[in-house]
């Protein structure tokens, strides 16, 4: 998903992206801290609806959306991009070299530079897993690193 970022001099910043349904979601962060979320229907250039939020409201909504209060089951892939670091939730398919081996055996950090910071499975939930933690097919790994390291991680271990 590509997020377009444009500076609006005198007003603030504009972030926009297109959803799978073809709608455009556009977030304006005003210099004053006010946020606006605009929803454009496909091929429309005037917004269908607008949500206006104060700084505090926006942060709360952001926390809700990111899953702070409730994590849905569909967490096979998720991504959190910060200034320098990216955190990504990735589901491990059976054909991935990761499956069935420990973190150490895969030499994750040595080969990619990325670090696995958590591991979830149907019956397990391991935070900060040690090098001898085994990973099974179907688990979800949470990995942190620079974007390039994460990309390398996904490529090497055949994760989406």
């Amino acid at each position: 998903m590509e997020v377009r970022e444009v500076e609006l001099p005198g007003i603030g910043m504009k972030f926009s992206f297109e959803t799978a349904e073809g709608e455009t979601i556009c977030v304006i962060i005003h210099k004053t801290g006010r946020r606006e979320i605009y929803r454009f229907l496909p091929a429309q250039e005037t917004p269908e609806s607008v949500i206006e939020l104060s700084d505090t409201e926006a942060r709360e909504l952001g926390a809700i959306l990111i899953g702070t209060h409730f994590q849905p089951d569909v967490q096979d892939t998720a991504r959190l991009v910060m200034k320098e670091l990216t955190i990504e939730w990735l589901k491990v398919p059976a054909h991935s070299p990761l499956a069935g081996k420990t973190i150490q055996e895969n030499r994750v950090r040595k080969l990619t530079g990325a670090t696995i910071i958590a591991l979830f499975g149907p019956t397990k939930k391991i935070l900060n897993p040690g090098p001898d933690t085994p990973i099974d097919a179907g688990d979800t790994v949470v990995v942190v690193g620079e974007q390039s390291q994460i990309d390398q991680f996904k490529q090497r271990f055949a994760l989406r």
Binding site: L8, P9, I11, H30, Y38, E45
Partner: protein
């Protein structure tokens, strides 16, 4: 004097209240307030001085929006849009000036006033009408950035020309070179002194910050005046030199109140100075100027919009958004030796400020 100043501020308070209520820019309201105050308050050197401080602080805040980095990020398409805007609107503004019988120097002043949109009013309208996310808005704001830089140069050159009182080739060249030289030195200073200034400004005491910033503004303004340029341009360049991003919040807290106060006095002083006995003569000229000002921007918006493949509707909206004129037009008109230019400009600013919201609703 205390009573007069107090009275001015009281009327301004009512004006600001009204402007807020009807969701209008306070600029035209303040000018009208000045007109209304003519019977009670005399324009004095003190008011004039405070008005000058107002211009400097206005320009300083605009300059603050710019930085060497931001100019590099400008983007070719935005430069193209800005160039188109100046190539259309400045010449038509000058032509209408000549058509209503001004001499060349006066026509150049009016041309600038017709050309320059008001960043403050435009940005306010965009927020008010929820246009911030629209496709044309990026171009509107890009054009404004271009305009502000251009007009700072233009203002500087014109001030120099008014100062020497003529348009002889040698003098024009000299003033132009001085301006370019001053801007050039400021850009170098901006790049070279950033880190050092940044450390000085980061002082924990807000008092230290305030005094340093105001001292820099006044000293650069004085330097510009000494060079025969406009003091306001010196203030603009101070804003350009200071590292804005790190101190945005401090500036908002410390400098903006001063700007709001003195800029209000600046606008009121125009109302105080306007000679109402000539209004009837100015109406026809104003009508022409308004016509040109509206259609110039509509045409510009249409051309830019079509050039960057916006829809027809968005192209109209682009033009409409650019219509308001404001503080810069009035600053420019204030340079003119003949009062009728100021009168015409004030009327134009007032009418366009009221007209634009109607047009914005129309082109939804």
């Amino acid at each position: 004097m205390l009573f007069q100043l107090g009275l001015i501020l009281l009327v301004l308070y009512l004006g600001a209240l009204l402007a807020h209520r009807v969701k209008q820019s306070s600029v035209p309201v303040f000018i009208l307030a000045g007109l209304g105050l003519q019977a009670f308050v005399e324009h004095s050197p003190l008011i004039d001085f405070m008005a000058q401080l107002g211009v400097m602080l206005l320009l300083f805040m605009i300059g603050l929006e710019f930085s060497p980095e931001r100019l590099r990020h400008g983007g070719r398409r935005l430069v193209l849009a800005g160039a188109l805007d100046v190539l259309i609107n400045l010449p038509v503004g000058i032509l209408v000036g000549l058509a209503i019988g001004l001499n060349l120097l006066e026509a150049l002043i009016l041309g600038g006033a017709v050309y320059i949109s008001s960043s403050a009013i435009v940005a306010r309208n965009i927020i008010e009408f929820r246009r911030a996310a629209n496709p044309e808005t990026e171009y509107v704001l890009g054009v404004l950035v271009f305009e502000d830089i251009f007009i700072a140069l233009y203002l500087s050159v014109l001030t120099g020309l008014v100062h020497v009182g003529g348009l002889q080739a040698g003098e024009v060249l000299l003033v132009f070179l001085k301006t370019v030289g001053f801007f050039g030195v400021a850009v170098l200073a901006a790049i070279g002194l950033r880190a050092w200034l940044s450390r000085l400004l980061a002082h924990e005491s807000i008092e230290v910050f305030l005094l340093l910033v105001l001292a820099l503004i006044l000293l650069l303004a004085a330097m510009a005046e000494w060079l025969g340029l406009s003091g306001a341009v010196g203030a603009f360049l101070t804003g350009f030199i200071l590292p804005e991003r790190e101190f945005r919040e401090r500036v908002e807290r410390v400098i903006v109140p001063f700007r709001d106060l003195f800029a209000a006095i600046f606008f009121v002083s125009f109302g105080l100075l306007m000679d109402l006995s000539h209004v009837s003569h100015m109406l026809l000229a104003s009508f022409l100027v308004i016509l040109v000002a509206v259609w110039g921007k509509l045409g510009t918006g249409w051309m830019i919009g079509r050039l960057v493949r916006l829809s027809k509707n968005a192209s109209w909206r682009l033009g409409v958004a650019l219509i308001p004129r404001g503080e810069f037009s009035i600053i420019l008109a204030g340079l003119a030796p003949t009062p009728s230019i100021l009168g015409v400009t004030v009327i134009t600013v007032l009418v366009l400020a009221l007209l634009t919201p109607l047009l914005m609703k129309r082109f939804h």
